[in-house]
């Protein structure tokens, strides 16, 4: 499988990426991250040469919510539980990271006890992150076990249509937007299982939130939010087509990249997964899980 990770597409590079891969089309697209604007995909279709099947995953999600009220109510409850879990996790994370930064300030240039304390503090945050991710996945898994989607007539119908849309396409193209919405609908409609095949295997092209939703660890971040820098937080897992990576779109605009100690903590926190910025113009081809050489990584010496 080839996964092509692109930076933000304000100045599109998608068309050249598609050309370089020699993909003839048609393309299955996911623009669910745009939510209500999902159908406004004229520009995207033009970049792909017009041969496009928009899978309409956001619309399908709304349809499921409307036509399967039992599922919708249970899903709302799961959402409430997950929101509460995220809130508590964030509370703990905030204190834990403040401790990391405090110890880090002492340990900079030092040795011995302080450095050891720093390592322990980071280890505490890593454990918190991992436990949270496991619990989130557990809650979702339990929900899917209680309400198997393939047994829900409305969902099963949509899954079939999505699979049909994917079947004859040269590649799946996932646009950015709301990463939570994207991760939800990609899971719900079982997109990973129905990926298109071509002679060289499946090809997926994605950018920004779309790229994040393909990974096994979605980390939300915004150091320049109006309420002040937030702590990068583990949100959950995407499709896990790309593993051991934290993708950071718009890193220059959203992260305090000049804050070396903060970036060092980010890298240590998620290592050995690599923290990869996705800026305008970035293109990374991950082929059968193998990363190309020379990928820019945050926190690398």
């Amino acid at each position: 499988m080839r996964v092509v990770l692109l930076g933000p597409q304000r100045r599109p590079t998608l068309d050249s990426a598609v050309r370089s891969l020699g993909l003839p089309g048609p393309f299955a697209t996911v623009t669910a991250g745009w939510r209500e604007r999902e159908p406004d995909d004229g520009e995207l279709a033009a970049l792909l040469g017009g041969s496009v099947v928009n899978l309409g995953l956001y619309r399908r999600g709304l349809d499921v919510a409307g036509r399967d009220p039992e599922w919708a109510a249970a899903e709302r409850e799961v959402r409430r539980v997950l929101a509460a879990m995220q809130e508590v996790y964030l509370l703990r994370l905030d204190y834990a990271l403040r401790a990391v930064y405090a110890v880090q300030r002492r340990s900079l240039g030092g040795a011995g006890v302080d450095v050891e304390a720093f390592e322990e503090a980071v280890a505490g945050v890593r454990q918190l992150d991992e436990t949270h991710r496991r619990r989130v996945n557990g809650v979702r898994g339990e929900f899917y076990a209680r309400f198997p989607p393939h047994e829900r007539a409305v969902i099963a119908g949509h899954r079939e249509e999505v699979a049909a849309g994917l079947r004859d396409s040269s590649a799946l193209v996932v646009a950015g937007g709301h990463v939570g919405v994207l991760a939800d609908v990609l899971h719900l409609f079982n997109v990973a299982a129905a990926l298109p095949s071509s002679s060289g295997g499946s090809t997926v092209i994605a950018w920004s939130a779309g790229a994040m939703a393909l990974t096994d660890r979605i980390v939300l971040f915004h150091d320049r939010a109006p309420q002040g820098p937030g702590q990068p937080e583990v949100y959950g897992s995407g499709l896990s087509l790309v593993r051991d990576v934290v993708l950071l779109p718009h890193a220059k605009a959203r992260l305090l990249l000049d804050d070396g100690p903060r970036m060092a903590v980010l890298a240590r926190r998620f290592g050995p997964a690599r923290c990869v910025p996705l800026e305008a113009g970035t293109r990374i081809d991950v082929v059968d899980g193998a990363w190309p050489d020379g990928v820019r990584v945050i926190g690398a010496a």
């Binding site: 509460a84 950015g176 309420q227």
Partner: protein
């Protein structure tokens, strides 16, 4: 050391001939007050015995005398204002022993409040936030008036309900209860601010209930009846009729001045109901010894409440956003209370602005407060 450039008004003073035409030209060329670095020149043109610029900037004499430029009917006075300051003022014109307070006729910039309007001086570096102004791209929410009969307050209470654009009955919204709702809507552009901040993803989509006081000084000064109205009557009704999250972390009380006292006092009486408080220029007047608090009779119940709270501080909510203007007398009690709230186990975000006890100050702090209490979904969006 570099000498600061001569002020425009001093250059005018040296002009010859300094006649009416020269003053006309000067006024046509300059915005009033004339802001030159940190120095702001206030002007008045007309016949008078004395002219003062009057203001309520805590720390400065409240009357700045203007002096007549010899041979003209132009009066001027200079005030140094730190960068980013905003000062509301009026002119006091004395003629034949009669004193008249007026807005500055040479300055079109006005601030409005329930007690009238005043002129505004924006010092060097002050920026009116763009999110406080109407944005045609921001989808508008809706305002609906309703009446909530209140046995607690023994009156029908008007409430204006704000629903965000694209309100969905299937949503789960946080609830913001705003004291002095009519004033926040009328003088702090609260609807425009909510529309814009939600549109920009700075603030979560929320439902706001703007409440109106009856006898404000009684209801907002630690009144059990007011607290009961909000907590046992208004909140249950709204949570029954609207898709609200209905958890403490999704409920916030907000208010300015006495409205901040009402918010704090309500949470004090119902400590497990409200997760957040947004307190602007709270009238948190207290005494450490004696009874001379300087606030007059309306503050008596407030002082009693604050003294009791300070004697035994306790956690009334999870998170408090506290803001105050540096140029208002309430800055000292607000600065004093921030560590007290923190020590009581609450997470406190405290901010100050170079501004006064005014609705524009409260308006301009709303993004800091609301985005901290109910952060928008920016962290989810990566286009």
């Amino acid at each position: 050391m570099k000498t600061p450039p001569k002020l425009a008004v001093n250059r005018l003073r040296e002009r010859r001939p300094l006649d009416a035409a020269a003053v006309d030209r000067f006024l046509a060329r300059h915005e009033v007050p004339v802001v030159e670095g940190s120095r702001c020149t206030f002007l008045y043109r007309g016949e008078a015995d004395e002219v003062f610029m009057v203001h309520r900037t805590f720390g400065l004499p409240d009357h700045l005398p203007l002096r007549r430029l010899r041979g003209t009917d132009l009066w001027s006075g200079v005030l140094e204002l730190p960068e980013g300051s905003r000062v509301e003022y009026q002119l006091e014109v004395v003629r034949g022993g009669h004193r008249e307070r007026i807005n500055d006729p040479l300055n079109p910039k006005l601030a409005h409040s329930p007690v009238g309007s005043s002129s505004v001086c924006y010092a060097h570096g002050h920026v009116v936030p763009d999110w406080t102004q109407f944005d045609p791209d921001a989808r508008p929410g809706t305002l609906t008036d309703l009446v909530v009969p209140s046995p607690a307050l023994r009156r029908d209470c008007p409430v204006t309900l704000y629903l965000p654009a694209r309100f969905r009955p299937s949503g789960q919204y946080p609830l913001l209860i705003v004291h002095d709702g009519g004033d926040y809507l009328g003088y702090a552009a609260a609807k425009t601010v909510l529309d814009n901040l939600i549109h920009r993803l700075d603030v979560a989509e929320l439902v706001a209930a703007f409440v109106y006081p009856g006898d404000r000084l009684a209801e907002y000064a630690n009144s059990a009846a007011h607290a009961r109205f909000l907590t046992a009557e208004l909140v249950p009704r709204l949570e029954a009729e609207l898709p609200l999250a209905g958890t403490p972390s999704a409920r916030c009380l907000m208010g300015a001045s006495f409205g901040a006292v009402a918010s704090l006092a309500t949470a004090y009486r119902y400590p497990s109901v409200y997760g957040s408080l947004l307190l602007q220029s709270g009238s948190f007047v207290f005494t450490d010894i004696g009874s001379d608090h300087g606030g007059g009779p309306p503050f008596e119940p407030v002082v009693r409440f604050m003294n009791r709270y300070r004697a035994a501080p306790r956690r009334v909510a999870d998170r408090l956003f506290v803001s105050c203007g540096m140029y208002e007398p309430l800055i000292a009690p607000n600065r004093s209370m921030a560590p007290v709230f923190e020590a009581a186990g609450m997470t406190v975000r405290y901010t100050e602005a170079r501004d006064g006890h005014s609705w524009e100050n409260w308006r301009d702090r709303l993004r800091d407060g609301l985005s901290w209490i109910f952060p928008g979904p920016q962290k989810f969006f990566y286009e």
